[in-house]
Symmetry: C2
Subunit: 415 residues, 2 copies
């Protein structure tokens, strides 16, 4: 037998668009001994988690619970539970994760209408409203915060139009939840999927989501109960049956609801982590948390520009928790990233598809979104760029960021 | 805002068929700070996890990795990645979890042939071989250890026949992996799915699996690459495309393999837990671990019979990690379970469907499978039964179990 090393991960400053650093209180929570899944203490924790998710998602939706899988499991759960083969689904795409919505919808058998805008901007809501009127889909699926391009799509107008036309609006808020407002009810969002490993600063592995009565009605009309659990032998899988068992929200809500119908075995330790992560978010307060994210973003941007680098993309629709930086001519972006990790223990991200090798992406998310991290990454990036022969204004980046923090303190804003 | 309580779960003695108690070393591992998903340190951990899974599954299969979801996500991943609509799938059922295989296969569009035997026994391999010859399915899906009835299906003969007839054999080893031998290669199993929260004693939330070249060939023939990641815009989802993105093994193996193609964000802390859990299993040694499970099972059974209770099911095919006990006439099984939990902090399980209210199920799995737990549950069950007016031979249960341990020690067997 080979001998396997004791686990001993290095400490990192993680400034990517996720996974990001985890609050030590969340890590501690994940190390608590487990409870059984139907232990009354555990089902209480499930209920309290649902209550906290409602606050986070700014919603009165009964159904607000995590799917046991990474973020895209939650996206797929919503889409596979709503889409029937042949349904028309409109997906406006402004980056990589829009394509993921296309891909999942296609696999669910949807007739997908893809509307694209160039990468680096969001849609003008009017463009979207026109497309919705033109195509009259059953469902619109959209990304709220597109980490691949650092852009954020305003959703309130789109939501209103979808509601008026009785179209379902499904939103991927994986990157935004907990870092910038996601107003489920006020924006008329029918289903919203969040991520744990970004602004919530809980490890990857759960996909908290919420959906309203309009979605629930669709689910109920497609519901079957597992043969091993149902009393009679009537319902078999039929034409309208949801194609997945694991991601069937009609079954999941019977597990999370008072029926407590056995489905999977809830991921205990991940739930402990999510519970504690949500508690920390609500203790900080949503408004204070969003403000913290905005201030650190401003400091980071000031530092990036202060050292003479250029930001990528339309700043008027910038995603506040991800900043994209154009890699200067003649610089090998991957070598810079490797040196940041190797010498400074800092991770920043590259990007995908057409942006591969052209931009770096720096996240300011959750627990990673703090002053010492912003200052550390600016100082380190400057040093690495100089080491690669790029002529930066030495020392200016950190000073520019410090100016932002000092200015906020003068205004009496804590961050 | 409501005030949410600090997390503070009670300590439990968990003697169910899962989730069971977690080794403190695994809990500690889950509290380590996270690494980024493409951090070289993290991808090394992924590779080492795969190597350990190969040892656990007794296989040379390249592909041995976890799906990020609970056990049934792994089962569905294998089935949805292999089954195309209209494929004939044979599912021999001897308990509830066989029905789950039927349900998932139906949702994948399979033409399912269900062969059943009464609950409380396993199939004679000859019955299965005849059914396979009769129906000539593309795929046979079977449960190895059926926790709902406490039965285990011998698989070696079935595997050999399937291989001869070029039929794929998919095995749910969720309950058995790490507690009793699962010989993937020697038994000719094509794909095997394990569970974390049972004999591996890692929290629920991952589904480690393994599959061979025969399975891989099928996957490759159905593979597509996400639009956001592929270079050209050729392949769209087609007829043969795997219906799920999240559970698409052809994409997952490109993430776990040297291509490292981005799919989901690996569940870092769960992987830490699995890594440490596997390391602990291999440090103990598979043979020693199986023996420990056998001895504690024997002690438990001796105790149960010692207090005058009867075991349920065919003992010749008994699942060694779950013991089913007939609830005596006149005893309310749920009241007994509630008192065990409330007064003794012990959890044992009820059962499903036709066995609901008729049997209790006691697991002896992983870290929970230890002498002090077996003695504790026997003493407590006796006390609770007496409290409910059932006439047990007082004190005999624990003595009978101690006799088993003493006998083993005399033979020089450590446990």
């Amino acid at each position: 037998m080979a001998v396997y090393k004791e686990l001993s991960p290095s400490l990192r400053t993680i400034m990517t668009p996720g996974p990001v650093e985890v609050d030590p209180r969340v890590l501690r929570a994940m190390s608590f001994p487990v409870l059984g899944q139907f232990d009354p203490e555990f089902t209480s924790l499930m209920n309290e988690t649902m209550a906290m998710l409602r606050e986070l998602y700014m919603t009165n939706n009964v159904w607000s619970y995590p799917v046991d899988g990474t973020s895209r499991s939650g996206i797929e759960a919503v889409l596979v539970s709503l889409i029937q083969p042949g349904d028309k689904v409109l997906v406006p795409v402004y980056g990589r994760f829009g394509y993921l919505l296309v891909e999942i919808s296609e696999r669910c058998g949807a007739e997908v209408v893809l509307v694209e805008t160039e990468w680096g901007r969001a849609f003008d809501p009017e463009e979207l409203i026109q497309a919705i009127h033109l195509h009259k889909p059953k469902l619109v699926a959209m990304v709220h915060g597109e980490t691949s391009t650092g852009q954020m799509q305003p959703l309130a107008d789109v939501g209103k139009v979808c509601r008026e036309l009785d179209i379902l609006l499904v939103v991927d808020a994986v990157a935004t939840i907990g870092g910038t407002p996601v107003e489920t009810d006020a924006w008329y969002l029918d289903a919203v999927i969040g991520g744990t490993q970004k602004c919530l600063s809980v490890p990857s592995g759960m996909a908290p989501l919420t959906y309203n009565r309009r979605v629930e009605q669709q689910l109920i009309s497609r519901k079957t109960i597992e043969r091993g659990l149902r009393d009679s032998d009537c319902a078999r899988a039929g034409e309208r049956t949801i194609a997945s068992n694991y991601l069937d929200l009609s079954q999941l809500q019977d597990y999370w609801g008072p029926a407590r119908l056995n489905h999977h075995t809830e991921a205990t330790s991940m739930l402990y982590g999510l519970y504690e992560g949500l508690r920390i978010v609500l203790l900080e307060g949503l408004e204070a948390r969003y403000l913290r994210h905005r201030i650190n973003e401003q400091a980071l941007m000031a530092g990036i520009e202060g050292m003479g680098l250029a930001l990528y993309g339309d700043l008027s629709s910038k995603l506040p928790v991800v900043s994209c930086i154009k890699i200067p001519q003649g610089i090998d972006g991957e070598r810079v990233r490797r040196m940041l990790l190797h010498d400074f223990g800092i991770e920043i991200a590259s990007s995908f598809g057409p942006l591969k090798g052209k931009i770096w992406r720096i996240g300011t998310m959750g627990f990673s979104c703090q002053r010492r991290n912003v200052l550390h990454v600016l100082g380190a990036l400057e040093a690495v760029l100089r080491r690669h022969g790029y002529n930066v204004s030495a020392g200016e980046a950190v000073q520019a960021a410090l100016d932002v923090y000092a200015g906020k303190e003068k205004e009496g804003v804590l961050c």
